[in-house]
């Protein structure tokens, strides 16, 4: 038993980079079970699980770095014995495709406004719910919470019809970037309002009242007090919304046309021939996931906060 516990505290591969857990040991129930099972066994199992989680993504990356011929001839893992065959050929070929590059810009044109709009509109509403009095406030907030779980599917047909009718001076909402953005804003709002209201409501009352005593208008208080203090919550909301919109396929599939389609929809259109198109799909998928991955690693604590702040849509 002692042996097992000693093994449990041994440094494992990757242990050098771990930071938080190196602190004071806690004697939780789980840790005792771990001790009983034998730390070495558990560690080995976790390494195996971590590999299981990593290998698929590594596979995509390696496949994207191999030539079409190599991918057709052998599995991506053979590069570990012949590393010389890696090439950026598939990437440069992909970046020469105008429709792919357009779809990349469309993704940004859709994601950034959706995120900014949700943050601004939801903060205003959340401030009103948290710090202003009006009749029916609690009922209205309950309604917003109720909307949290509404499946996107229920709005696809009606909104498509609605957008079809918006046709002003040659601009049709259906198939436009604006239409996609608005839809994302609508379905981002309930979660955003819910998250921000809870955060704003916990801001010290004295701060607000002091500001009101000083004669600050509600708009000033919102801008000068609430918005800066809400930083962390707004950050997690922003990251959340960004990832949600960036990664969306279904909404784009319905509301975007070939001129306004984001990367996900473009990639989907290349799926018909999976094996034959692997030299497009692998680098394309990797390019589409590298931005969210960077955002995730840069801001992971805000992302985790967003996840913990309540049920995800």
């Amino acid at each position: 038993m002692t042996n097992g516990k000693a093994a449990g505290t041994r440094t494992e591969p990757g242990g050098a980079t771990a930071s938080g857990a190196a602190g004071a040991p806690r004697r939780g129930v789980a840790s005792r079970i771990v001790g009983r099972l034998g730390g070495g066994f558990v560690q080995a199992m976790l390494v195996l699980i971590a590999l299981f989680w990593l290998v698929p993504t590594i596979g995509l990356l390696v496949a994207s770095l191999r030539s079409t011929q190599d991918n057709a001839a052998s599995g991506w893992w053979t590069v570990f014995t012949r590393p010389t065959e890696l090439t950026f050929g598939a990437y440069s070929a992909l970046l020469e495709k105008d429709d792919f590059v357009d779809s990349f810009w469309n993704t940004i044109m859709i994601t950034v406004p959706s995120t900014v709009l949700v943050v601004v509109i939801a903060s205003l509403a959340a401030y009103a719910f948290a710090w202003m009095e009006f009749p029916g406030r609690d009922w209205l907030f309950l309604a917003v919470v109720a909307l949290l779980v509404v499946p996107v599917q229920v709005a696809l047909i009606p909104v498509a019809k609605l957008y079809g009718r918006v046709d002003v001076g040659g601009f049709t909402m259906f198939g436009s970037v604006t239409g996609v953005v608005l839809f994302h804003v609508a379905f981002g709002l309930p979660f955003a309002i819910f998250l921000l209201r809870n955060f704003f409501a916990a801001i010290p009352r004295d701060l607000l009242e002091a500001a009101r005593m000083d004669g600050g208008s509600e708009w000033t208080i919102f801008r000068r007090v609430i918005f800066p203090l809400g930083g962390p919550a707004i950050a997690s909301l922003g990251i959340f919304q960004f990832l949600w919109v960036w990664n969306d396929l279904l909404v784009a599939l319905v509301f975007a046309d070939t001129g306004s389609q984001p990367m996900t929809k473009w990639l989907q259109s290349q799926m018909r021939q999976f094996t034959g198109n692997i030299d497009i799909l692998a680098p394309g998928a990797f390019l589409s996931l590298i931005v969210p991955l960077a955002v995730f690693f840069a801001f992971q604590r805000y992302f985790v906060q967003g996840v913990l702040a309540g049920s995800v849509k």
Binding site: A21, F134, P151, F183, E209, A233, P292
Partner: protein, 465 residues
């Protein structure tokens, strides 16, 4: 352990700030302040102004669509004639629809449960591991990337050819490690009478019994050249057998360019390595061996009585090519597995936060009372975790009902993978063009999440109280 500690819900973080403020603040006797508060409170029309953008967007793009969908679901494809509940009964008619309903049921029952269990397992196992942060980042990472990218990643994993799909490559590797990789499908004894070996039950057996201390020749023909291993050597005469042994040769009795005596290992003929050889007596296997590179084998500890030498059938079955991941039966489990890959991190992070919040005293008290570790886990930890586990489960059920991307991308339109959320898109946008039926499925999905909606509202009201 970094993620969950940093990941305190915003409300709790801000709650900490509030506590500090109250400590040094001057919350004097209520009267005067309350009046001041009333005087300072902004008018309600201003609140409405702040709310207006949200209400307009939500009204037009979420609330109105719900109403519209309900009404639209009662009309036919053209939208002109009222059909009552026909669209709803239609969801449960026709083979494709029924498969979608069945698969959705499987998804809702299996995926959230297994994801939660995995999350609990990971959260518990990483509690005292030094590299927990790294582990959690790795498992949580798929949450950040698109389901489309995850779908492409898993299409690659599930490629049928074990030389392309890593899933089958691993399966075949593990299988061959235990079952022996070398196989000669199609290989058989030479036809005609008076041969030293004959086919029997898919395998090959010596025509005459063999005595211990003797040698046996087992010539085979119709070996496919692509099945000959690279390390195969020219067939050799069997080494002399000692008492209690039987030796022999299994070889490809075919001389390139003709010639050579049949049933004798001539020069230029190849031994068949890796063939399982058994000595059988009265239907029971009494000794076992595997052929060497030159096709020779030695069966040891053979009883002195006569036995027959057999090459069992699995030497001649086709090589194992892995599972048909995207075949009719495995496709839904395979897609659910990819879902686990994406969402286990979510469950793990929430549960780890819940685990960290359990008061140590409760656990210690149980231990002092003499409870075993398992009892503590089962009777104290799990009940205290129940609220978190419920939230995780409910969130995942809502999410699973809407599962679209993974099924669409990995399933690639295979009706055996269909689920309601995908069927909704297919019938209304993806070629079906029946928005009445599509609306009915959408409303059905909406009705299915209603219990979760009530759960959320009740949770909120309890927090308020």
């Amino acid at each position: 352990m970094k993620a969950p500690k940093d990941g305190v819900p915003p409300a709790a973080t801000a709650g900490g700030a509030a506590a500090v403020a109250t400590a040094d603040g001057t919350d004097g006797p209520g009267g005067r302040r309350a009046r001041a508060r009333e005087r300072l409170a902004p008018p309600s029309w201003l609140a409405m102004l702040f709310l207006l953008p949200s209400l307009v967007v939500l009204g037009f793009l979420v609330v109105y669509p719900i109403v519209y969908s309900v009404i639209r679901s009662l009309f036919d494809a053209s939208g002109d004639s009222f059909v009552g509940i026909d669209n709803y009964t239609g969801v449960f008619q026709g083979e494709n629809n029924l498969i979608a309903v069945r698969n959705t049921a499987i998804w809702v029952v299996v995926a959230p449960t297994v994801t939660t269990i995995l999350g609990l397992l990971f959260a518990v196992l990483t509690e005292r591991i030094r590299w927990a942060t790294v582990f959690k980042l790795v498992v949580f990472m798929p949450m950040a990337i698109s389901l489309l990218a995850s779908g492409i990643i898993f299409r690659l994993v599930y490629e049928q050819d074990p030389d392309k799909g890593v899933g089958n490559a691993v399966l075949v590797g593990v299988h061959d490690m235990f079952a022996g990789a070398t196989r000669y499908p199609g290989a058989a004894p030479r036809g005609g009478g008076d041969q030293p070996v004959r086919a029997e039950g898919g395998g090959v057996v010596t025509a005459a019994p063999v005595q211990g201390g003797r040698s046996a020749l087992l010539p085979l023909v119709r070996v496919r050249p692509e099945n000959l291993p690279k390390d195969a050597k020219p067939a050799a005469q069997a080494p002399a057998a000692r008492p209690g042994q039987i030796t022999g040769t299994v070889w490809f009795d075919f001389t390139r360019g003709g010639g050579g005596t049949p049933n004798v290992p001539n020069a230029g003929e190849t031994g068949l390595p890796g063939v399982t050889v058994e000595a059988v007596r009265d239907g029971k296997v009494v000794a076992k061996a595997t052929t060497r590179a030159d096709g020779t084998f030695t069966l040891r500890d053979v009883p002195s009585a006569t036995v027959s030498v057999r090459l069992p059938a699995d030497n001649f079955t086709a090589a194992y090519r892995g599972a048909e991941w995207l075949g009719d039966t495995l496709i839904t489990p395979a897609i659910i597995a990819s879902y686990l890959w994406v969402w286990s991190g979510f469950a793990m992070v929430l549960i780890a936060a819940g685990l960290a919040a359990i008061p140590r005293d409760a656990l210690e008290a149980a231990r002092v009372d003499g409870a075993t570790e398992w009892q503590v886990f089962r009777r104290v930890t799990i009940p205290l975790l129940m609220p978190v586990l419920t939230v995780v489960l409910v969130t995942l059920v809502i999410n699973v009902l809407k599962v679209f991307d993974l099924v669409f991308i990995i399933g690639g339109g295979d009706p055996n993978a269909n689920v309601l959320a995908l069927q909704m898109w297919t019938v209304s946008f993806g070629g079906g063009n029946d928005q009445g039926a599509g609306s009915a499925i959408a409303v059905l999905l909406f009705v299915l999440v209603l219990p979760a909606m009530l759960f959320n509202i009740r949770r909120l009201q309890q927090e308020r109280r």
